[in-house]
Amino acid sequence: MDLVNDPALDAFRAEIRAFLRANLTDDIRRKVMEGGYLSREAHTRWHKVLQKQGWIAPAWPVEHGGCGWPLAKQYVFEQEFALAYAPRAVIFGVEMVGPLLIEYGSAAQKARYLPGILSGDEWWCQGFSEPGSGSDLASLACRAVRDGDHYMINGTKLWQTAATEADMMFGLFRTDSSGRKQQGITVLLVPMKSKGLSLRPITLLDGGQEVAQCFFDDVRVPVANRVGEENQGWGCAKFLLSIERLGIAEVARSSAMLNRLKGIVEQPDAHGRRLADDPEVANEIAEIEIDLMALEATEYCMLFDPAAGADLGAEASTLKLMGTQVQQRISAATMAAAGPYAQAMASGLDGDNASRIGPDFAEPATRGYFNLRKISIYGGSNEIQKNIVAKAVLGL
């Protein structure tokens, strides 16, 4: 299936492939393939390679240091990276803070923050969810009170990915409680080293600590760190959520994970038997493959239909719904391929092969299965996505 039927892009695709072949190191490639946690060191190393190539921010306009590529080129770029198990650029800076500041930021904010994102020297985390505000994001209560030329923040944020590594947070804070809950929300950029800001790393099911809770105790942030107007932050949030939906189908990543699974089941065992010859295993993989074809085609239609508008509508929520299903299904099939060895968990989270029990893929497969339960919960749970479609698309 070759949907991007544009000879002009073939050369570009070849260029990316050559670049990845030459530059992507095995340690990073393998970590991504196994769904493991990439260290900040490895992330930064990769970032510098991309930066040298000028490929940090495919979607940003050229005048802000991005590639300024049209959508089709971004699509191919993302596809090739995923298929090669290349890491994304550090996600929140390039994909969220950059577009946010380019759209809503002051000239000073752009000048101050965009270079650090492009260089990879400044890491960002998101500050949206709170203990009482998960699905119902607009009910957030973490309070920022204006005090002269500062805001004083008190409260807590929950589920901040990479918070322990981040230098800055872009967060939504409650600046007014008198009106509708969507009103009275403000975007602030908070240095993670701020006095009064403390973190509690949260261990997840797979044993990793990719998220944390952030506590704000009289944290002072200059008014200059406000993005947009006071109490107008909900618009920014919606803008960011709509960005977050782009690529949320994770088609190419899923293709790569499925390729890996096919490699695993095609390995003959000691008796020459292959799991791939089990009709149920073969059918399951075929079904996933077909679901993925449908996902890819639908994503393609939504992105490139000339009859549709420039922005992805709420229909894109269906991409997340189906995308998470596919990813979780691949992870379940990969774990199942490990058979009894799925249970063994000898190595630490960053352990190397030497300490693994059973086939190499088994342990990451099991961790991956449990880790990926998150994707139907985070970023707007699948239930919330259905509510969105029901309301915005179906008019219910």
Binding site: M1, A286, E289, T298, C301, L394
Partner: protein, 377 residues
């Protein structure tokens, strides 16, 4: 070809929609389908006038030299309006086969086909064969310069209304071998042919056909009379790819109708559509329809690919669309409650058609095996 409609195709779809809507409401269209012919001659002519029959015929033979993307527009409209008639076997399969037929036969027939004066039917199924294209026992034996045909075919859609039957027949080889199969164009009124007609659950008209010593000229064989399996396989893939937009059209109708019902029907003092459990199920229906729509496009694009890729992707598309169709059909009935069970509502009739598309040109088991085989190839 692309996944997207051109502006011309969008306009074409609109005029088709108006024409099909003009054939009457659901009950009126059902009355037409219940006639012995199963369709109305004047509707056929109206469609021919719109140019639907010549889409796959080159301009030299009076057609417009279009693509399957144009056919998809027609099939989608047919699905939406639950129209039934000999379009698929005439305008799609017939055009395809005739283009490869003996030149004299081709040149004589295609212009009539385009004009709506010549209909074809596809005598594919044999009683014992299920979906196995190579399971052909109908025999074509050399008979002088021509052929002699003996055997039986079943479930030939609109076979009674056809002027020509497309008949796969065995000229050699064992009876589930791919080698030794030919595709023949058989005049429907030739001596030795008997047709026994009946209705189908989804409102089509079909017939069983027997051939007893039917004499055919040499020109009846399309291409290599012993190596026709690839042609047959390709023709069925085109037929399959054409059924998918019909399914998507029918699903779109069901989605829209069910959504409208949820918005108006009240129980417990509120519209059904205000109940979250039903909202989420309706979102699933919407999602299935949209994904099936893309996947029908994938099946269509695959027709231009090499055989293994074509087989793999057409089968993938059929599997996906069939599953979605089954789901949408079941949910549409269920969400309509008791009304969904009635013959007077259109919902059940669309559901029946969708269910039967799932059993036409191969079911899940068939296409899953074919998909896996083509992937391994």
């Amino acid at each position: 070809m692309s996944l997207f409609r051109t502006d011309d195709q969008t306009q074409f779809a609109e005029s088709l929609g108006r024409t099909l809507a003009g054939f009457g409401d659901g009950a009126q269209r059902r009355r037409v389908r219940a006639t012995p012919a199963g369709f109305a001659e004047e509707h056929w002519r109206a469609l021919a006038d719109l140019g639907v029959l010549g889409l796959l015929v080159d301009e030299a033979h009076g057609g417009t030299g279009g693509t399957m993307a144009d056919v998809a527009v027609v099939m989608d409209a047919i699905g939406r309006h639950l129209w039934a008639g000999p379009y698929l076997a005439t305008g799609v399969l017939g055009a395809l086969v005739l283009a490869e037929a003996a030149p004299a036969l081709r040149d004589a027939t295609l212009p009539d086909l385009v004009a709506g004066r010549h209909r074809l039917a596809f005598a594919l199924v044999e009683p014992q064969a299920r979906y196995d294209l190579a399971d052909v026992t109908t025999r074509a034996r050399r008979d002088g310069a021509g052929w002699r045909l003996d055997g039986a075919k079943a479930l030939v859609a609109y076979g009674e209304a056809a002027n020509t039957l497309i008949v796969p027949a065995r000229t050699g080889g064992g009876h589930t071998e791919a080698a030794g199969i030919g595709v023949f164009l058989v005049p429907a009124k030739a001596a030795g042919i008997e047709r026994r007609g009946y209705g189908t659950i989804d409102g089509l008209r079909a017939c069983d056909v027997t051939f007893e010593g039917v004499k055919l000229g040499a020109e009846a064989a399309v291409g290599d009379p012993g190596g026709g399996f690839d042609l047959l396989d390709r023709v069925v893939d085109w037929g399959t790819a054409a059924l998918l937009p019909e399914a998507v059209g029918a699903m779109t109708y069901l989605y829209e109708t069910t959504l409208a019902y949820l918005k108006t029907r009240k129980q417990f003092g509120a519209t059904l559509g205000s109940f979250q459990a039903l909202q989420h199920r309706m979102v699933d229906v919407f999602t299935q329809v949209e994904f099936a729509r893309s996947m029908a496009g994938v099946g269509r694009l695959a027709l231009d690919a090499a055989a293994a890729e074509r087989r793999r992707e057409v089968s993938a598309a059929k599997l996906y669309v069939d599953r979605a169709a089954r789901h949408v059909a079941q949910e549409s009935i269920q969400l309509h409650g008791g009304m969904g069970m009635t013959d007077e509502l259109d919902v059940g009739h669309y559901a029946k058609r969708l269910t039967m598309i799932g059993l036409t040109f191969g079911d899940r088991g068939y296409h899953m095996a074919r998909y896996r085989a083509a992937r391994a190839a």
